[in-house]
Structure formats: structure tokens, C-alpha cells
Symmetry: C4
Subunit: 279 residues, 4 copies
């Protein structure tokens, strides 16, 4: 499997045109954050904002309104149980993330269905965290997977649940076969993260640090993926995804030079300066 | 159209008199922030506080009380649906901002009417964001525009809605004609922001960076405008507005030297040190 | 009137004994923060925590619980309408601050009465902001002023209301006469703040900066006064008050060397390092 | 009594294996934070996150949901009155902390019982703050102390209540006898903190600074203890506890070189860089 090279950053992270407005850098919608896991939605949304998405909205439990506004005033909020607002927000977004801290309750299923039923072919949909678990548990959800640009971001255990491939059998060949069935990009998060693209390309990430092994790191990657997809639309999706994944781990590597554990918030706060080095 | 020069900063940002008290630097009232967009009001209020307004109050949805107090303890809060408190706050303010994150619901219209009906001739009223949209949608609001110092801060699309001048036809001549009809200062936010003053002067901003193209940037500018108007009362309004607009973009330019995207919060946090250089 | 000298800091801010525990540095109770002005209580409480008070509790409106915990996890919270809890907290405190953002409603009067009725002679009571206004408005409150160590922190207008001395007539002689009637220390906040002590001593502060003329600055001073009183109990009250007042303005002066406006939060964050220089 | 040596840090704080995932660094559950003392749970949880625990959940009063998500998005939240969720979270955790800001109400007793009744022998249970007080007040709680790895973190007064040994009689011999009866590790917080281990070893901490004498410092130590226990499982418990206690005070000592008082938040924010020096 080919390795992702640092040069991908210079290629993807382009200097913005002098005459820019926020609409050019995309609208990201993060659907997640039940009452118990509001932080996950905040971290995903923050990563999208700090990586440069034009406009970010977080659809979350009503309990999280205040934490979202206080922690990330740049984001807008909607109640994820309000189907009218959620449907409208989905239709307006370029990139939709579903799953960070969403939970697996009956309500979560309903929300996920609203997302799946309202997405169209030209939109990017990142299916993360609880949403992957829901798909694994409820076969009927698989039948309504939309015709959109789908991205899955499982870790190995989530991938086992979704693909039915036991972790020891998660070979590139087996993974790719299942990924092709899903007709989606699969970002398999592990020691050396592997990416399986729809065009058959596979890439492996050789960087990253054990200092990243902490809660919320996946939500942060998802937010960066969303921010990059929203923004770098004149690049191939293969390049954009590689750059996002590389950015996440490279920042962690840099910070791990002086921190025993690197927290999601640390990575989020480092995004703007990091990305500037490569533009 | 004449270009705004950096020297305007030295002219407007004056060393404060030794014997100063907060009342000398004005009272700003920000009316905005529905439940879904509380962050907009927080950013506008924060920009006013950090740019030196003497006292800042945010009239917002009740859901935003906590986020406001937590993020900006320097500001006071009132529920924007409480007409008694809102009216009193309007009467006490020197500069009123209406619009950031206000939304366009029936409630928003009612709130906007309270503002329009209670302002007097010696007050500054900045009409921003949702409030501009409301004016464009509801002709009856135009008929109650008060006899006050009015400032509009549309981006090109909002200006199209308000002025009925399609974006391609937004020439200085057309813009100025409509602005004179409005009897207001118009700050037309775009790649090179243009300012149309009541006295016929027009100015163009030549600085700014694509790193600013992100959600909340307009709310931040509005807050700086309010802070400058509240404070620099012995200056001509033309100078004050130019200085505020220049400050906003110059800080962004400076920060963009090391950040790929410049966030509203970054600009807000840089205001105090930036302004010190020019006093 | 004698001027406060910087040396007072070295005298008051003592190195702590090696064997210290938090109880030695006093319990501060801040009673303030109605729903509209929760930030005032947060700023006063934060200043007390950062200046070294052993334990800080904030009695505030129920709406402010979350903002307090989020902004200042070091502080405990009680609902100021809960008379049982409030009374208990008053009895346990060494220094009570009443007033920052308290408001002047009927509820505020009730809360203020609970404070006045439960304080004993060996406690310090700082009467600030809204509480001074309440005393000026409701003569019956003056009759229950407790036999405790009272401190008033009015600005000139509040002093006019409380003392009935019009601002132009606020001469040292007139001020002192009224202050002696009040049998309290009066910290009269103005361009050159004056302090009138119970022992007849008067002191004048010659430092400070117009950059401090912003909302919340008084709440911050009150918190520092509380923190110093709670902690430096083996010093004369005259020295402690002078040191607190000097600290507040000296930090502002230092920060004003690079900031156009100095915010309460800036001063709060600078307290710990500043105080270390003088111990 | 033997002194804890700085070398213990190099021994315990190990470089993480290249191939790491968050599950390897343990799940910490903090049970605490009644409405009035939510900050205590936030500080304990933050210390666990920043010291490297793999996943942290805070079980707290419903009033604290927002403050927790806003201040520490990395943590998950559950309502500590929800017995089903609390029981499940207890069973999933490796290290449970009970007590910070828990309070001593009837509800607190019920919550504490749920913890005591659902813990199994291979789990670590740190009994802190209010939970120690509850044990001292309610003899029936002592009878259901579980067969788990118990850790008590009393200060001298709490130890007096729990052990019935008056402070002047808290000699190593007396302390150890009681500690052996409790069949628990006792971390007796005082000027020179003493640790009594189940294997009969006793250790004394010779570092620490009076700048630490401030509210919340104990909650922070508890969070570090939890983070270290969760993570360093291949080390002897004696080493891990010594390292956690030493880390807490050494960071404070370092920060006290420039701060008059060292706040819990300061220590929490310094953990990641500090620990890196010793790995």
C-alpha cells in the first residue's frame, strides 16, 4: 500500500484567491452530540472552523446549545430533533458529518434517517462514530444509504461491526472488497491509518503518535476532513482526504515533541498556523 | 474612489485623557442572537468590549444568557423579548447594533420594531445581518426607519436585497444614489469594502485577506464599528468609520502572516494591543 | 492627603508560611449577579480566587450557575434566593462582598437584608455597586447596617447618592465627615481614588490609567479587596486595603503599556504573577 | 518514613508503545459535582484528561452538563441520579473517583451506595472529599465498602473524622493501624503528604508549596491519581501513587517560582508538558 507523503499538504492547501468570500469555502453541518456527549460535536465543529470551513452549523441536543455557543461562537446551532430545521440545514450544506457523540438511541436512529433521506448526489457525507454503530446494528439503515459521496471513518472495532470482517482478518484485500461494496471512501483509523478510495487507490499513513490515544481524537479528525472537503473543492477527493488525515497526525506529532498526551483541543488550536506553513 | 489610508488610525485612535471614566467611552447595545445564532451576538459584543466601548449590553434570546456570561463576563445581558427592558436599554445606549444572528422570525420583526421605534436622533444605529434582510423583506419596516445616525453593513447579496441593485450593477454611482435615498452610511462589505457616507464622500478599503472569509467576520466588524463610534465622539463620523473598518482588516492581514484562516475570536483578542500601536 | 506608595505591596504581600492550608487564607463569599449581570459576580469571584483567597463561594441567581462553574471551576455556587444556604454561607465566610451585579429589585433588597442581618462583628463586609445604590434608596437598610468591619467602594456618583454630598462638594473634609458617620472604610473610586479609614487616616492613589475605564473594573477591584482581606489578616486593615487598591491599578498600568484598553479579565489573569514580585 | 524521590517519575511515566489506542490508557469515571460544587468534578475530570487517561466520563448533577461540555469537551457526561446509566458507567470504568463536590445530601448517599454496590475487585476506587465525610457520618456505608482497590485521599480533618484519630494523634503508627484496618491505600494530604500502602510501605512527600493552599487543589490531585492509575497499569500501585502525588506538587513548585498562588487550572494546563520531561 502506498504511503501518504507530506507533499500532499503543499498540493492541497492552496493559497486562497485574493477575492474570496466565505461561501467559497463551503458549509459544513455536524449532526451529533446527544446530551451525554455534546463535547464530541463541539470538537468536530471546532476542527471544521479552525481548518477553514466557510460556515459551520452544529445540529445537536437542545442541552448543548449553550456549550456550543460558549465554546465556539463561530458556529450556528440547531436542535437535531427539529426535523424541519435539520432537513433545511442538510439541504444547504456541502459537507455533512453525522455521528460524533450522536449515541445509539431511538432518537439517534430517527435523526440519522433524516440525514440519509435528505442528502443528494453532489454532497459529501461523513459517517462517523455512533452512526457507524447504528448502521451495523440496524440493517434497514444500510438500505437507505444515499447516492452521495460517502466517507466512513471507523476504527478497527467499528469496522469489524460494519464490515463483519474480524480485526485479525482486516487485510487490505478484505477491507477493499467490502469498501467497494459500500461504494464509499473508508478511512480505517488504526496505528497506521489506511484509506480505501472509491477509485481503487489505497493509502497508508506512516506518521502519528501514541500521544494521540485519547478520547475525542476521532471527532477532531472528522472535523478536519469536513473542513478540507468543504474548502478544497478543486482538488481530487483522494488528495483532499490524504491531506486531512496527514494534517491531523502531523500536528499531533509536532505537539508530542513537548507534550506527553496531545489533546483534541491542542490539535484544533494548532490548525491555523500549521496550515499556513503549507499554503 | 479614494482609498482609506493607515494614517486614519493615528488620527482616530487617540490617547485617552488622564481623567477618564467608563461613561466617556459610550454605551453599546447589541440586539441579536436568536437561540440558533447566539455566537453572532457574543462576537459583536466581544469586539465592542475589546475595542474599548465603555459599557456593553447584549439583548439576546434567553437561551444565550449563560453563554454570554461565560464567554464575556464584561457584558450585561437582557432578554430581547422583554420590551420594557429592551426599550430602557435602547434609550440608555449611545450606539445600538441590531441584527447579528437576530434571525428573521416573527419575533425578530417585533424586536426590530422596538429598536426602530425607540431610537432618537442623536443615537447611532448600526443595522446589520438579519436586520438588513428583514428590511428587504418587510416594506413596512422601511417606513419606520428612524431619524438617527444610521449605518448599514451589508455584504453584496444583502445590499442587492436592500437596494434592489443586482450585484453586477453595484457601481459606485448606483450604490451612492440608493445610499443617499436611505440617508445612511453604507458599509458595503466585499473584496474591497466600500463606504458611502451621508456627506457624499466615498472610500474604498484596499487591505484585507482571503483568510478572513469565514463565518462571524461581519459580526466582528460590526462590534468594532460600535466600539469606535461609542468612544471616538470628538472625531468626524467619516474618520471613525474608516478607522474601524481599517482596524478590522489590518489585524486580519497581520494575523494572516502566520494563520491560514483568521477567526473572529483571533481578531477580537488582538484588538487591544493593535489599537495601542496607533494611539 | 498622603499618597499610597508602592512599598505597601512588599509589606502586605507576604511569603506564605511553609506549612499552609487553604483555611489560613480565608473564605470569601460574593453575593451578587442577578440574571442580567452574572458577569459582575464572576469577575469579583475570579479576582478573589486569583489574588489568593483560600476558598471562594458565589451566591448568585440560579441562571448563573453554569457560567460560574464553566468560567471559574475553583468557586462554589449557591442560589442567592435560598435563605438557608445563604445564611449558612455568610456565617462561614471571613469576608463577604455584597453588590456586584446584584441589581435593585425587590429580591435584591431581600438578599441584602439577609446579608446585613447575619453578619457578626469579626467579619469583613464589602458593600459594592448595586448594594450601595440600595442603601441610598431605602433608608430602612441604613438602620440595620451591622456592627462589622464595613467597607464601601462607591464611585463618585454612588458616593453622592449614599452620602448626599454632590460631586463638586466631595472634598476630603466632607467625605471624611460622612465616612466617620458611617463608621466604615470608604474607598472612593475616581481618577485618583481616595481611601478614608476608620482610624482617621486618608490615602490617595496616584497611579492608574484611562485604559481601565471599562465595565467590570470595579467588580474586579472588589474581588481583589476581598482576596487581600481574607488572606493578609496579620496586617493592619489600612495596609491591606492600600495594597489591594494599588495592586489593581498597578497591574492596569503595566498592561496599558501595550494595550489600548485593559479589561477586567486581563487584570485577573495577571494577579498571580504580579503578586509574586512583591512577596 | 521514606521520602518520595523525583526518580519515581522517570520510572512510572513511560513512553507509550508506538501502537497505542485509547483503550490502553483506561477509562476513568468521576462521580461528583452536586449543583453547588460542579467545579470540583470539572477539575478532577480535567486533571484526568490532561494527565493522559484514555477516556473520561463525569457523572454529575444535571445542572452541570453544560459547564462540563463547555470546559472539557473531551469528557462525556452522565446524570449521577440516573442509576441505570451510572451503574453501567461504573462497570465499564477501570478507575472510579467518588466524592469531588458530591455533597452530603440524601441524594449523595444514594449515589455513593450505587458506586459501592457495583464495583468489583479488579477496579480502582478513589474515595475523596464529600465521600470521605459521608463514610464518617454514616456507619452503614462502611459495612458495604467493596472488595476493590480502595484509595482514600483525606486531608487531616477528614482523616480525623474517618479514622477517629484526632489530628495531634495522627502519628505514622496510628495512621497505619487504621489504614490497615481499612484495607486501603491512604493518601493523607497535609504539609508533607503521607501515603500508607496496603503492603505496609509508608512514604512521605517532601515537596510542595504554600502557593497550593487554595480551593480545588485536592480535586486536581484526585484527577491526576485517577489518570495515572488508569494508564500505568504495568507499574506497581505503590509507584504509580507516588508518581501522581509527586507530579501534582512538583508542578505546583515549578509554577510557584513565578506565581504567588497556583490555581488548580494552572496545574491541569501544565500536566502534558511536565509529564513529557520524564517519559
Amino acid at each position: 500500500m502506498e504511503k501518504i507523503q507530506e507533499q500532499i499538504l503543499n498540493r492541497v492547501i492552496q493559497k486562497r484567491p485574493e477575492e474570496s468570500y466565505k461561501g467559497m469555502f463551503g458549509k459544513v453541518l455536524v449532526v451529533g452530540g446527544c446530551a451525554n456527549m455534546g463535547g464530541a460535536a463541539i470538537m468536530a465543529g471546532s476542527a471544521a472552523v479552525h481548518s477553514g470551513a466557510g460556515l459551520v452549523t452544529i445540529a445537536s441536543a437542545k442541552e448543548n446549545l449553550t456549550a456550543i455557543h460558549a465554546a465556539l461562537p463561530e458556529a450556528m446551532y440547531i436542535n437535531f430533533l427539529d426535523k424541519v430545521q435539520l432537513t433545511q440545514a442538510i439541504k444547504q450544506a456541502n459537507v455533512i458529518v453525522v455521528g460524533p457523540g450522536l449515541g445509539t438511541t431511538f432518537h439517534a436512529i430517527e435523526i440519522f434517517k433524516v440525514v440519509l433521506n435528505n442528502i443528494s448526489a453532489n454532497q459529501d457525507l461523513i459517517i462517523d462514530g455512533s452512526a457507524i454503530t447504528l448502521l451495523s446494528m440496524h440493517a434497514e439503515l444500510m438500505t437507505i444509504l444515499p447516492n452521495a459521496n460517502l466517507f466512513f471513518t471507523p476504527h478497527e472495532m467499528e469496522w469489524q461491526r460494519l464490515s463483519k470482517i474480524a480485526i485479525p482478518n482486516q487485510t487490505p484485500e478484505n477491507n477493499q472488497q467490502k469498501q467497494q461494496e459500500l461504494n464509499a471512501t473508508v478511512i480505517l483509523k488504526k496505528h497506521h491509518t489506511e484509506i480505501y478510495f472509491k477509485n481503487g487507490m489505497c493509502k497508508k499513513l506512516m506518521i502519528g503518535t501514541p500521544a494521540m490515544a485519547t478520547g475525542g481524537m476521532g471527532d477532531t479528525l472528522t472535523g478536519i476532513l469536513a473542513g478540507f472537503l468543504a474548502q478544497f473543492k478543486n482538488q481530487s477527493v483522494e488528495n483532499v482526504i490524504q491531506a486531512a488525515v496527514y494534517t491531523h497526525s502531523k500536528i499531533a506529532d509536532d505537539l508530542a515533541a513537548e507534550k506527553y498526551v496531545v489533546l483534541p483541543t491542542d490539535i484544533i488550536n494548532a490548525l491555523q498556523v500549521f496550515m499556513h506553513h503549507y499554503m
